[in-house]
Amino acid sequence: MTSPASSSEVKYLIESSEGNTFDVSGAALRQSNTFNAMFLNIGADGPIPFTDYNEATLKKVFEYCEHSVNEENYSGPKHQDDLSKWDLNFFNEMDQKMFIDVINASNFLDIERLTSYCCERIARMLRGKNTQEMIKVITLPTAEELEAKQKVEEKKAAAAKKVAEKAAETAEKTETLEELPVQQLVQTTRNKLTRKYLSFSNE
């Protein structure tokens, strides 16, 4: 059921990337500036397609929105130390993949409060790290690693090329020999040996 939201009782249907639909309250959805800009005033016929995000991610995002419906108006980022037990549990129970999906979805839906908390959480994770540690944490390969990786790849490519050439050569030989009748095969081998003998004698 979808209709222009004027009351928090109104429910909206949300469609995920799997094509599944589920209900979200108007009050929760209104925390999304993207929703407000796109659907709040005109309403939506049928489910609202947020099909870039899977059901689990969207449910997680709207779980947060439903929870924070009754909180006071958002007034800038809150320090992680000031987060409630519920907030902390909400973040702690997510694995990294889910956390990244939630940030991306929250960013797309433009839910300021959730995006801010996520970003502050990442900044906090990087606090106290030196450059090398930061490189490791944010999974950026160092210049040396890149160079080493490139060398390994070049070696691998060269080796693969050699193997492929050899395989092609072998296949060609096998194919040629297989195609010849027995008598002709004997003749070919004899010719080859004669040529070899002649080349030795010439030398």
């Binding site: 990244i100 960013n107 995006t115 990442i122 790290k129 030196n130 450059t131 944010i138 999974t139 160092t142």
Partner: protein, 319 residues
């Protein structure tokens, strides 16, 4: 959550949001990770309002951004060579935490990096202290570039100080803790330059005072009432046309008569309310203030404050 986190795979506006939650030390550290991180930190548009560099046995780089300050130390490791063109690590002041760039940085590279990410448009202030001789002056000049304020140490050798004055030759403001020159004419060459400010801790003659071509001048060594009196008379007749504010002290140990200071000078008192305003505007404290007028009509005030056997005198021109 796992120990690694693919920050740079997030949308750029999210990365910027993460960076906005970082303090300056963290921002500097992450800006050294890659060209992308440097670009993103730069995109935050942080502007350093002041940069000052202190050079002793160690070089400290102080950067002030919007009321906050962070300090980096260089060469505090005694094993590091004195050649500032060689790569060097930076250390954070309070945590003594080493900050390394992903590619080796020398002091000049550090300066350029910080200038870029924190938009340091204003030239830095540079103070030389005891132990600064460790560093070659020309290399310092090459790394630091033009300076806004230059303070030359009284603890460094005259040869070194002369080299500093020669290389860092065009500051807006200059403070000399000691005159490194043998000839009076050498220091007078500095007096006739048009600095915004010049301060000198050296015995100065009336000629020196009359040669001053800076807007503000501070003589740290005491003068006499008679010399100041003669200076004021010259000013009334038109000398030191650029002067706006002169601060000096007068030793009155041997002089009971304070009237010598203004002897023969036509002056009028200033209403208390106006006195207060002048003192506030010029950040001075005084117990006596009089107004004088130059022949061309320009007014000035002489504010005097007695502290034990010294008179602190401020000569302020009112434009």
């Amino acid at each position: 959550m796992e120990r690694s986190f693919p920050l740079f795979r997030l949308p750029e506006n999210v990365i910027v949001h993460v960076l906005q939650n970082m303090d300056f030390d963290q921002l500097l550290t992450i800006s050294l990770v890659s060209t992308k991180s440097k670009r993103l930190v730069t995109s935050l548009g942080l502007r350093a309002c002041d940069v000052f560099i202190e050079i002793s046995r160690v070089i400290s780089l102080n950067v002030e951004i919007g009321g906050s300050r962070f300090v980096l130390y260089f060469y505090n490791d005694s094993n590091v060579q004195n050649d500032i063109t060689l790569p060097v690590d930076a250390f954070l002041r309070f945590e003594c935490k080493r900050i390394q760039s992903s590619t080796p940085f020398n002091f000049s590279d550090w300066m350029n990096h910080i200038r870029t990410i924190f938009f340091c448009i204003k030239s830095p202030s540079v103070n030389f202290y005891r132990g600064c001789e460790r560093f070659e002056v020309q290399s310092l000049k090459d790394a630091i570039g033009n300076v806004n304020y230059l303070s030359v140490s009284s603890k460094a050798t005259d040869v070194y100080n002369k080299e500093v004055l020669k290389r860092f030759n065009a500051p807006n403001e200059l403070s000399l803790e000691r005159n490194p020159f043998d000839e009076a004419c050498e220091i007078q060459k500095l007096f006739i330059q048009s600095f915004e400010f010049i301060g000198i801790d050296n015995v100065h003659s009336l000629d020196d005072m009359l040669l001053v071509n800076s807007e503000k001048v501070n003589f740290y060594r005491p003068t006499t009432q008679k010399q100041f009196n003669r200076f004021v008379k010259h000013w009334i007749r038109g000398s030191n046309p650029r002067l706006q504010h002169m601060s000096l002290s007068i030793d009155i140990t041997d002089s009971v008569d304070r009237e010598v200071l203004l002897k023969g000078i036509e002056c009028v008192g200033v209403p208390e309310e106006e006195q207060l305003k002048i003192c506030q505007n010029n950040d001075v404290v005084c117990d006596h203030l009089v107004q004088i007028k130059r022949e061309d009509g320009t007014s000035a005030v002489i504010a005097v404050n007695r502290i034990e056997v010294f008179l602190n005198v401020h000569f302020i021109v009112l434009y």
